[in-house]
């Protein structure tokens, strides 16, 4: 039997529907991932008329972890300050509590235990790193800086976005006006935002210059202080990404059933009680999903620190992506790929942990 082309085309529909997506992802994700892995274990050298790649094993990683690039990636170690101990104690308590409750729940499996152990170790390691480099005399490396950007940035964005969404879901006028206005920052290119904030944060010429002079800070330069520079980066990041969380949470809040809220409010429950007992359980799954998306994206932060401070003062505001990019610019392709791989590992562990141990329980609780 001879099949015409269109018959064949129809019969292959099942495959042809998914094939383009799979092929394109294989070619431009798996393939680069493998090449990057190869670069990460080699040394790139320009030679006459081309380049040469020499296999050097894990030397690139060794350099980052214990070698000459350690100060850049991990930071410079110093005695742990009191807030370092505080942070450490809080994290240990939190981890111990969640592990204990998992083991006591009686539903623990070997895979679950191993997964949780990996998560616990990763968080502990990051905490120790943060506590030992944050003190006086120490210096945060690009890994810690990225983790701070993610943790502080996403927390601020989530709380602001949630607050705004709650306000906007009240019975108020001009709701669509606020919605469009609050959505605006998402449309500006991150590079543009970075320059805009550089203009705004300019202490001598910016719009607030008069204010700074008034309170005697006119001569202060935020870009020369590590923490103020980081703060400006995080403010820019929050300004840009709050709308994303806001718009999704607003839709979730507006989508919840009015009856429950009404019933609770007739019973005399306060705003806070209504939020805690009725609204929050309803929107928690959406909230956790949106936080995961944000965490995934936040790990890739690069435009803001690059434009605002160029990673400086020193390396104080350098994120991992910027670190990798700076290595690439210096033609250290191997080192660049090694940093990128470390970023991939850290963000995968954090995101997978969040997905498995925060998001999934929240979803299953609702059903």
């Amino acid at each position: 039997m001879r099949l015409s082309f269109s018959d064949w085309f129809d019969r292959q529909a099942d495959r042809l529907f998914i094939l383009p997506a799979v092929l394109i992802l294989l070619a431009f994700s798996i393939f680069p991932l493998l090449i990057s892995a190869y670069l990460a274990v080699s040394r790139f050298q320009l030679t006459a008329g081309g380049y040469q790649l020499r296999f050097i094993g894990w030397l690139n990683f060794k350099k980052l972890l214990i070698g000459g690039e350690q100060y850049h990636f991990l930071g410079v170690f110093a005695p742990v300050p009191w807030y370092g101990w505080l942070l450490g104690a809080a994290v240990v308590l939190l981890l111990a509590r969640s592990l204990a409750s998992y083991i006591r729940s009686g539903k623990s499996t070997v895979i679950g235990l191993v997964g949780r152990a990996v998560t616990t170790m990763a968080i502990l390691a990051l905490t120790v790193l943060l506590a030992t480099t944050i003190g006086a005399g120490g210096q945060l490396g690009s890994l810690s800086v990225t983790v701070i950007y993610v943790a502080v940035g996403v927390t601020c964005q989530f709380l602001t976005g949630l607050g705004l969404a709650m306000l906007c879901s009240q019975n108020i006028r001009c709701r669509s006006f606020f919605r469009v206005v609050f959505f605006l920052p998402l449309m500006v290119t991150p590079v543009g935002i970075a320059y805009t904030f550089r203009m705004l944060a300019d202490m001598t010429q910016g719009p607030f210059a008069g204010l700074w002079r008034l309170i005697g800070l006119g001569d202060l330069s935020w870009a020369s202080q590590a923490w103020s520079a980081r703060l400006v980066v995080m403010v820019g990041d929050t300004w840009q990404w709050t709308p994303f969380i806001f718009i999704v949470l607003l839709a979730a809040i507006e989508g919840q059933s009015r009856e429950q809220v009404e019933a609770a409010s007739l019973d005399g429950a306060s705003y806070w009680q209504i939020f805690r007992d009725v609204t929050w359980p309803e929107i928690a799954p959406v909230a956790s999903t949106i936080v995961l998306i944000r965490v995934i994206e936040a790990f890739k932060i690069v435009d803001l620190p690059n434009v605002l401070t160029n990673g400086g003062p020193g390396i104080a505001t350098e994120s991992l992506t910027l670190h990798s990019f700076i290595n690439w610019r210096a033609l250290d392709l191997g080192g660049s790929a090694a940093v990128a791989y470390m970023l991939l590992i850290v963000s995968t562990v954090i995101c997978a942990s969040f997905f498995n141990y925060v998001m999934q329980p929240m979803r299953s609780r609702r059903q």
Binding site: I172, V191, L200, V248, A252
Partner: protein, 345 residues
């Protein structure tokens, strides 16, 4: 005490008491100012002469300073084609890659929500191993890349024929979906260098095509993520009756499913369009002159003389303008479209 409580409690349901209402409006207005002020400052700066940017800050055109169109003149007339070309590049790259990502992504999302796939674990591992081997062959032993790819693919197909039936373990749709979404975790910088090398090898560096392909890939997972739940929520009766009438899957997809999923499609397109329009890092790697996009031009205004704020402001404004217009037109779809994806995502 009870009098005070009366102030705060709602009278009619949904109606706020005066004081909370005032606080509510005050906070909303405050955030509006936080959002709008930077944009206002950019707009004002675009009309300033360089001397007006100095201290003391000048806020109001015509009152504080005499607005001038010199920056607009410079960007549109002096730079002329050097502005319009990146702008056109951005338009082409962003719109074509969005179209492709939405088309390919929604096809995949639809297929995953309707058809059961069972990729064999063994063949996947075999494929990745062969791919790794091909890369090592090209990079290390200087084999021609075309030859390596062809040999790898042929070898893969032959091995699949020979040993395919021995593989038992297979993955499900959930795994494929997770795999696609997990591509988003990949930091662009991991992929940027290999993609750069790859396009260099095939001579596509600094072309529209390179950027279009890259943006399509990067944004594909978002489309799949958002659209999967949309398709899953669409009832299947219509499709089944169409199938009985003899319509092919393509017909059903284009004629029935896509129109039903319109809000999701619009939201996903808008989001992907914004991401592609604003993308900077990959463009920096992949385009130098001909295919330069507009975010690169913004960054380029940071010249050796220091940042040229007035030129930069003009560029930022002409970059935001089309997206703002689009968003205002489509705003009612955005929340709905994003939500369905996020609820079950």
């Amino acid at each position: 005490m009870s009098r005070w409580r009366g102030l705060f409690e709602s009278r009619r349901f949904g109606e706020l008491a005066p004081i909370p209402k005032f606080i509510c409006y005050a906070l909303l207005a405050l955030w509006s100012i936080i959002v709008l002020f930077p944009l206002y400052w950019v707009l004002v700066t675009s009309f300033k002469e360089p001397v007006d940017v100095a201290y003391p800050p000048k806020f109001l055109p015509f009152i504080d300073f005499q607005p001038s169109l010199h920056a607009w003149h410079y960007i549109f007339v002096d730079l002329g084609n050097d502005t319009f070309r990146p702008y056109a590049n951005s338009l082409i790259v962003a719109s074509v890659s969005t179209l492709l990502a939405v088309l390919i992504g929604s096809m995949a999302a639809y297929a995953l929500s309707r058809i059961e796939y069972k990729p064999k674990l063994g063949s996947i591992i075999g494929f990745i191993l062969l791919l790794a081997l091909a890369i090592v062959a090209v990079v290390h032993w200087q084999v021609d890349w075309r030859l390596a790819v062809i040999v790898a693919v042929v070898l893969f197909l032959l091995l699949l024929r020979a040993f395919g039936r021995y593989f038992r373990r297979h993955l499900g749709n959930g795994d494929i979906l997770f795999w696609i979404i997990s591509q988003r975790i990949l930091p662009p910088v991991v992929a940027a260098i290999p993609i750069y090398v790859m396009f260099q090898k095939v001579g596509l560096l600094d072309t529209h095509l390179a950027l279009i392909i890259t943006y399509t890939t990067v944004n594909l997972p978002i489309v799949v993520w958002l659209m999967y739940d949309f398709f899953a929520a669409i009832p299947r009766d219509l499709e089944e009756s169409a199938q009985l009438d003899g319509a092919s899957r393509y017909r059903i997809f284009v004629g029935i499913v896509l129109p039903l999923a319109k809000p999701g499609l619009i939201a996903a397109s808008l989001l992907v369009l914004i991401l592609a329009w604003n993308e900077y890092l990959l463009a920096l790697f992949l385009s130098t002159a001909k295919a330069q996009t507009i975010p690169l031009l913004v960054a380029a205004q940071n010249a050796t003389r220091g940042p040229q704020w007035w030129y930069m402001s003009v560029l930022i404004i002409i970059m935001i303008a089309p997206v703002v217009v689009l968003t205002i037109i489509l705003q009612k779809y955005i929340a709905r479209g994003l939500l369905l994806g996020a609820v079950k995502g």
